[in-house]
Structure formats: structure tokens, C-alpha cells
């Protein structure tokens, strides 16, 4: 069925979903066609909204019976009130945001917790490609340097430094590569990371 295929096609979705309890309220930033929200609604009775900028995705979310608000994440989350969601999710979108630092602050303002997944630029394959003289291209980073929407790529270490700088406490981390969990040397061996965090009280 659709449910399992979504999780298989996007391993970070499984990690995100595992952190979200039944009946939570969720705001999914850059929600694409609404697959994750639909999955969360169907499996966990999650109430939620997506935020998207693309016309095509807006129409797709509506077809998926997912609430979606058309907005540019880089203009902030002014439509959303403080602590109005249990979780604010940003999956595979962080690296494409322009005002990344401001958005991280917005995530912990609007959500009691934030969940962010992104491709690890520190993955050894990326490092190797740079060492060999080229910008990395991989399944996680499928673009050429000249057509990539990714303007703020980072490593796990970089992300954790930003969190510390913003007074954000990391509550959980899930690092993966090719569908397997990575425990040892994650900043080198992980291709995708998912973090759960909240504002330090």
C-alpha cells in the first residue's frame, strides 16, 4: 500500500514518524506533495498542516487531503503562533533555505519540538568527490553545482554548532546511510541525518 511505499522511498520519513506520538499536531515545512502528513494522519491520527511554495505541490497536497498553506519559508512563519504545534518538521529542505538561521529560530518558536532532516555534506563520498576536485553529486545531492537549489549545505558537526549557537537543545539524532543506521563515526559515514530538538528553556 501507499503507506509502506512512502516510508521505503524516504528513509528519513520512517525516522521522523518514529518520533511522533499518536494524535500530535504537526506543521510540515516544505511538505512537498503532502505524503508525510498523509502518512502521519493515516497511521497516527496526526492533525497537521503543510507549508509549500510550489504550485504543483499545493495542488498535490489538496488531492492528498492534506491541509496546505502556500507560503515562502524564507519569509518566516508569521501565520503561525508561538508553540502552536507539537512538532514542526523540516525534511530535506534545510539546505535549500536562504535564511536558515532565522528559520531554525522560527521552528522552535512555533513548535514545542523541531524535527529536521538533511543530507550530510560530511559523508565520506562527498568528501572524496571534493578531494578529487569536484562538487559532490549523489542520490542525496542529485544536482550539479550550477543548478542546485541547495545553498546551505552542512555537516552534522556544523548543524550541531548552529544549534548550540541558537540555544537549541538536541533531544535525539538518527543518522542513516543507504537505509542502515549509522552509530560509529556518523559525520563521516552517514549520508542523511534526522534531528529532534527544542529551544533550551
Amino acid at each position: 500500500m501507499m503507506n509502506t511505499s512512502i516510508i521505503q522511498s524516504r528513509p528519513d520519513f520512517a525516522a521522523i514518524a518514529a518520533w511522533i506520538p499518536q494524535g500530535s499536531s504537526v506543521l510540515d515545512l516544505g511538505c512537498g506533495d503532502g505524503s508525510l502528513l498523509r502518512y502521519l494522519r493515516e497511521t497516527r491520527e496526526v492533525r497537521g498542516y503543510g507549508v509549500e511554495i510550489s504550485d504543483q505541490n499545493i495542488a498535490a497536497c489538496i488531492a492528498n487531503n492534506v491541509n496546505v498553506i502556500q507560503n515562502d519559508l524564507d519569509s518566516g512563519l508569521a501565520d503561525f503562533e508561538d508553540a502552536s504545534f507539537d512538532y514542526v518538521i523540516l525534511s530535506q529542505t534545510l539546505q535549500a533555505t536562504r535564511h536558515t538561521e532565522a528559520l531554525m529560530k522560527e521552528i522552535v518558536r512555533v513548535g514545542r519540538e523541531g524535527i529536521v532532516s538533511f543530507p550530510n555534506f560530511g559523508h565520506w563520498k562527498n568528501r572524496l568527490q571534493v578531494l578529487l576536485g569536484n562538487m559532490p553529486v549523489s542520490s542525496e545531492l542529485p544536482y550539479q553545482w550550477y543548478d542546485t537549489p541547495n545553498v546551505h549545505l552542512c555537516t552534522l558537526d556544523d548543524f550541531e554548532i548552529l544549534c548550540a549557537h541558537l540555544g537549541i537543545r538536541i533531544l535525539g539524532r538518527h543518522v542513516m546511510s543507504e537505509g542502515h543506521d549509522i552509530q560509529v563515526m556518523p559525520n563521516l559515514r552517514g549520508s542523511t541525518a534526522v534531528y529532534r530538538f527544542r529551544r533550551d528553556a
Partner: protein, 376 residues
């Protein structure tokens, strides 16, 4: 594939129970003109109400026998296989109370005096309209609409449905609308009304008895309105600085194409629209403000709503700008209501809501398909 509802005919409903308006005025009896398309299902769960905007009426789709050119005002949206699919939904369009297309309005004969109501027709509000529409729904056996849909002033009625009758509407589609008019918007309406009110042929609203029509005022009102419904870019694209006769004539006659177009639109409108109805419609627009009695707090106003909402705006609409739609969305989010919001990139200003556009129609179609599934 045939995508028109085809030949249809208008119907008339008569109401003998007095209707008290928000102003306190009472209308002892009244009639509403309406049309329906499609079939009401056995569970009566597939009805959609279309609310019209300032100059609209009950003729939403299709055409009349022997008058193929008189196509409904939203025929591109409503019909078999269209976004508001008459193969799936039972669609109701009506002419609002106070209108000039057959429903009781200022130009109708007041049975008590035998003369047109004229100036004595009460000033009407969006709430009053919705109350009268609910009675029409009763008459048609519709306890709950699958959706109430409207653009502009029609969107205000759709929203008001969710506030006045939260149990009677499952979905509200508010398109190119606003939670209330801004001062600038009221100002435009006031200029339009002034044009009518100061026309010597207006006779304080009782021009019918003098056998004249305040054409000049109505025409100016429409010209002004029309400017505000288009975007600067759309007007520039369509007319630019093009001259009608290719050269300057150093006169006050029509020289630029835009002047010609506006005057044509003004004349066309003044030939069929009622001046008193125009005044009423603009007043209803000005008065609409569900937050008014709640310290201006729109969040509190929308607490009453239970329906799911689709809010749609158009990027170049400066009369009902995207920012105004966002205020509606914000209030719905505050109340944790189901809401989707689409901001359509369109060149055509406020008029965009009446035009065919791929993204706009995709959003409408997908949303309505979902409603249709819930009706089944």
C-alpha cells in the same frame, strides 16, 4: 465531450414568512430567483451553493432556450467534468435579495404600495443574505451543503455561512475575498455611490416613478469599479497607451483605447443594472466584518466555524489582496480549523477569480474531488 450544463431555466421561490434584517427592517414576503444544475443525491449530501459577487446573479452556468449567447457567469467553472462537477454535485445559484435579476429588490413592486420599493428597500447585509439563502436551502430540502462557494463578495457570504450556520456547511471556498474591507476599499465604494447618488436622474432612489434611469452615475460607478478589478499590468498589456485614431486630437473626446473600453463597459452595465441594487451591494461589502462585535478580533469570530476551508487569492488582485486572504487563514489556523490556502500567480487582478487558469482550476478541482468522495 460536452462540458456545458446545456439549456436550463430559472426558477422562482416565494417566501411568506417575514424576514427581519440586521438593520431591524422587516420584509414581509419576498421572492428569490435561482437555478440548479445536477442531481441531488438520495442522502441529500451533494449540494453546493454558489454565492455571487457585486454584479452577479442566479444564472451561473449553461444557457437559456433560444438565447444561446446568454451563458452563465461561471460557466467555465461549473458543468459536467468541470471543477464544480455537475455530474457529482447538485449546484444551486441564486440572485440575492436586493438584486435586480428577478429576486425581490428595489426595482420590484412593493405589494403594499403597488409601486417599486426604490429608496424604501432596506439596506441589506451579508448576514441577511445568508439567512435568506438558508430558507431557500430549506425549501430545496438541503439540511447541509457539501460546500458554499463564492468569490469576492460571494466569498464573504460563503464565510458567513460557516459563522451563521456552522452545522449546515461542510466546506467553505472563499476566493479572492477578505475578512472586511479596508478604508481604501470603502473609499472606492463611496465614490461609486456618490456618482449614483448625485445623478439628477436618481431622485433619491425613486427614479422608477419618473421614468428615468441614473445612467450617468451608474456608468461612472462601473467605470471606477472596473479599474479596480484589473491590475496595472493587465491594463497595460491590453491597452497600453494605444490611441483610438492613431493620433492626438487635442480634445476631450475618447482618445486612448482604455477610455473607449471603460466607457463601453460603463454603458453596457448601466443598460441592465439597477442603481439601487448597486448601492445595496456596495453597502453590504462595506458592512461585512464578522469581528466587529468582537473587539475586531477575527480569531474570536472564526471560533464559531466548523467547516473546512479553502482560501484562494490572486497575486495581482489589489482590491482583495493576498494579504487579506491570509488574515482569514490566520484566524482559521488560530482556531485549529482545517484550511488550505493557495495564492495563484495571475495577471488579471481581482477579475482573476472569474477566469480560467490552470493552477486555479487544478486547486479547485482537487479540492472538490475530495469533497465529492466524502459525499459518496
Amino acid at each position: 465531450m460536452n462540458t456545458s450544463v446545456g439549456i436550463i431555466s430559472a426558477q422562482r421561490a416565494t417566501f411568506d414568512t417575514p424576514l427581519q434584517f440586521k438593520s431591524g427592517a422587516v420584509l414581509p414576503r419576498y421572492e428569490l430567483m435561482y437555478e440548479t444544475y445536477g442531481t441531488l443525491n438520495a442522502g441529500k449530501s451533494n449540494a453546493i451553493l454558489i454565492c455571487h459577487a457585486l454584479s452577479g446573479h442566479h444564472h451561473v452556468a449553461g444557457c437559456y432556450a433560444g438565447d444561446a449567447k446568454n451563458v452563465g457567469w461561471w460557466d467555465n467553472m461549473v458543468g459536467p467534468g468541470k471543477p464544480i462537477d455537475t455530474d457529482k454535485f447538485f449546484v444551486v445559484g441564486l440572485n440575492n435579495l436586493g438584486g435586480c435579476h428577478g429576486s425581490t429588490g428595489p426595482s420590484s413592486i412593493d405589494p403594499e404600495t403597488g409601486k417599486p420599493y426604490g429608496a424604501s428597500f432596506p439596506v441589506i447585509t451579508v448576514e441577511d443574505w445568508v439567512a435568506s439563502q438558508a430558507r431557500l436551502a430549506d425549501k430545496l430540502g438541503i439540511a447541509q451543503f457539501a460546500a458554499v462557494i463564492g468569490g469576492s463578495l460571494g466569498g464573504m457570504q460563503a464565510m458567513q455561512w460557516a459563522l451563521s450556520y456552522p452545522e449546515r456547511v461542510r466546506n467553505v471556498l472563499a476566493i479572492a475575498s477578505a475578512p472586511h474591507l479596508t478604508a481604501q476599499n470603502i473609499a472606492f465604494n463611496d465614490v461609486a455611490r456618490s456618482a449614483i447618488l448625485t445623478d439628477p436622474d436618481f431622485y433619491n432612489g425613486d427614479f422608477y416613478l419618473h421614468g428615468v434611469v441614473p445612467t450617468r452615475g451608474l456608468r461612472l460607478a462601473r467605470m471606477l469599479g472596473h479599474i479596480t478589478y484589473l491590475s496595472d499590468d493587465a491594463m497595460a498589456d491590453k491597452f497600453g497607451r494605444e490611441l483610438r485614431h492613431g493620433k492626438l486630437n487635442f480634445s476631450y473626446d475618447i482618445e486612448f483605447q482604455i477610455e473607449s473600453y471603460l466607457r463601453y463597459q460603463g454603458d453596457k452595465f448601466a443598460a441592465y443594472f439597477d442603481a439601487n441594487t448597486y448601492l445595496l451591494m456596495t453597502k453590504a461589502l462595506d458592512y461585512f466584518d464578522p469581528a466587529r462585535d468582537l473587539d475586531g478580533n477575527l480569531n474570536r469570530a472564526f471560533a464559531a466555524a466548523k467547516a473546512k476551508f479553502l482560501v484562494v487569492s490572486f497575486t495581482t488582485d489589489w482590491r482583495f489582496s493576498p494579504g487579506r486572504s491570509r488574515e482569514i487563514v490566520h484566524a482559521l489556523l488560530h482556531n485549529k480549523r482545517d484550511v488550505s490556502y493557495a495564492e495563484i500567480s495571475s495577471q488579471h487582478g481581482h477579475d482573476s477569480f472569474l477566469m480560467e487558469d490552470e493552477q486555479y482550476f487544478a486547486v479547485m478541482r482537487n479540492y472538490l474531488n475530495r469533497i465529492a468522495e466524502e459525499c459518496a
